[in-house]
């Protein structure tokens, strides 16, 4: 079978037109998700049952169900509920974009909070004790000692998650959004040429994820420059 290169050349700009939507979906969800993750983390490590129990339940549910299902519940399912239709959030929840952002945020928030928690747990106990011995309050210890070290420890896992998030944005195409994936599927439906279109889209995503990975790698290198790696 012969590759229709003309089609590829024609389609790539069309798919790239969806890049802004892809980027918006990714960036907004990443930022909002991080905020949510920090809240969940603080709840999780607070030691108070009425805070950590709900946080744990939330994380359990959102990491235990497929993100596609979460997207469908919000986009297709919420309109079934009267109190949603009558709430102030309805204008956002009526639109596929709002639903996608909400679903992606809620999902990534759960994963990132666990990643942050992994970083926090990885901080050497002795360092926290040294802080305590110097008279630092637990809040000060958390801000000035635990957090900087935890962030550095969490970076590799966070890099994986942020790339996963980029890949998940493609699911927005299932609820009519015209991100790069959405446009690709439209073109395929019209031209019956799945291989050319999807393969070129694959290359585009590979480039994107590569850029993200290298960038976080650089940040990690910068943060670790003063840490001697354990032999």
């Amino acid at each position: 079978m012969i590759f229709d290169f003309a089609l590829i050349v024609d389609s790539i700009p069309k798919m790239l037109a969806g890049f802004w939507m892809t980027f918006e979906l990714w960036f907004l969800s990443a930022v909002l998700g991080m905020a949510l993750a920090i809240i969940l983390l603080l709840m999780r490590i607070s030691g108070r049952w009425y805070l950590y129990a709900p946080a744990m339940a939330y994380i359990y549910i959102f990491r235990g169900t497929p993100i596609l299902v979460q997207i469908f519940i919000i986009y297709h399912g919420f309109p079934q509920l009267e109190f949603i239709r009558e709430s102030i959030f309805w204008p956002i929840l009526r639109e596929p974009f709002g639903c996608a952002i909400l679903a992606l945020t809620l999902n990534t928030g759960a994963y990132v909070s666990e990643i942050l928690r992994g970083g926090v747990l990885g901080v050497d106990r002795g360092l926290k004790e040294a802080g305590a011995a110097l008279g630092l309050s637990s809040t000060h210890r958390f801000i000035y000692i635990t957090s900087p070290i935890a962030i550095r420890l969490a970076l590799p896992a966070y890099s994986n998650d942020i790339i996963s998030l980029m890949k998940s944005t493609a699911l927005a195409s299932t609820i009519t959004l015209l991100d790069m994936m959405g446009i690709a599927r439209t073109i395929v439906a019209e031209t019956y040429a799945p291989y050319e279109i999807f393969l070129s889209l694959t290359v585009i995503y590979l480039i994107l994820t590569w850029i993200i990975q290298k960038s976080i790698g650089l940040i990690e290198k910068r943060m670790s420059r003063h840490v001697r790696s354990e032999a």
Partner: protein, 250 residues
């Protein structure tokens, strides 16, 4: 009671400490006067680390009283923080903050706890870095220093809080042999200047020359407590004699 509390900067009365079923401290009584230098020694698991960790509340004692400089140690957080800013601790593994430079390591607590200004904290830090004889390392990171240097920085860091008492938890046990003396020298200087100190260590040479009193612990109890000549020359208890024969034989 009130009298001794005034003259004793540290007072432990009938202190017990359990880890689950295991009793780490059994009815420990200890008084430390201002300016006294105490060395605590004993076999592993004897409770010596637990003892000093109870003094700055890194461990919580289960019964008995611990009074530091007039503050009784309870679960009152304000009290605990007050005690900790007057009691400095040096750890076996240094525990320098890896993400901060040396000078920042020293400045962190004075700025946050004593609300010192940046320049005050900086001056204090450099003063103590000079005291431990490594002022040129100020802008380096801990990972760039040798073990002996790191431990000296740790001592300086504790001193920046101007503590009344310094606790040392096996300060030289994690060091290569050639670096032990540089740390012991700093500690000896400190003692000569009148710092009240409690040192958990195996370094008997240091104990002999610096300590006012040597406390021997075994299985959670204080077995013997005497000035160096008595302790080394005329040990009373069988367990003390056994311990001394084991560690002094080479």
């Amino acid at each position: 009671m009130i009298d001794s509390e005034l003259t004793n900067i540290i007072q432990l009365e009938n202190v017990d400490k359990f880890f689950g079923d295991f009793q780490a401290l059994k009815n420990v009584n200890l008084s430390v006067k201002k300016g006294e230098r105490i060395v605590v020694c004993g076999p592993s698991g004897s409770g010596k680390s637990t003892l000093i960790r109870c003094i700055n509340r890194l461990e919580e004692h289960n019964s008995g009283r611990i009074v530091i400089n007039g503050h009784e140690l309870t679960s009152d957080v304000a009290n605990i923080d007050a005690v900790r800013s007057e009691v400095g601790m040096v750890f076996q593994n240094f525990n320098l903050f890896p993400h901060l430079t040396i000078i920042k390591n020293l400045m962190l607590a004075p700025r946050l706890v004593r609300k010192a200004s940046k320049s005050e904290a900086h001056d204090t830090a450099m003063k103590y870095l000079n005291r431990v004889k490594i002022p040129e390392q100020a802008d380096k990171y801990p990972s760039q220093l040798s073990g002996g240097q790191q431990q000296r920085v740790a001592i300086a860091r504790a001193l920046c809080m101007n503590p009344e008492v310094m606790l040392f938890d096996e300060p030289t046990s994690a060091l290569d042999p050639e670096m032990i003396s540089e740390v012991l020298d700093v500690m000896t200087d400190l003692a000569r200047d009148g710092m009240t100190m409690i040192v958990v260590t195996h370094e008997m040479g240091f104990a002999r020359s610096v300590a006012d009193n040597i406390v021997f612990m075994d299985e959670g109890e204080i077995v013997e407590s005497n000035p160096p000549e008595e302790f080394f020359g005329n040990p009373k208890n069988e367990r003390t004699k056994l311990f001394l024969s084991q560690i002094l034989s080479h």
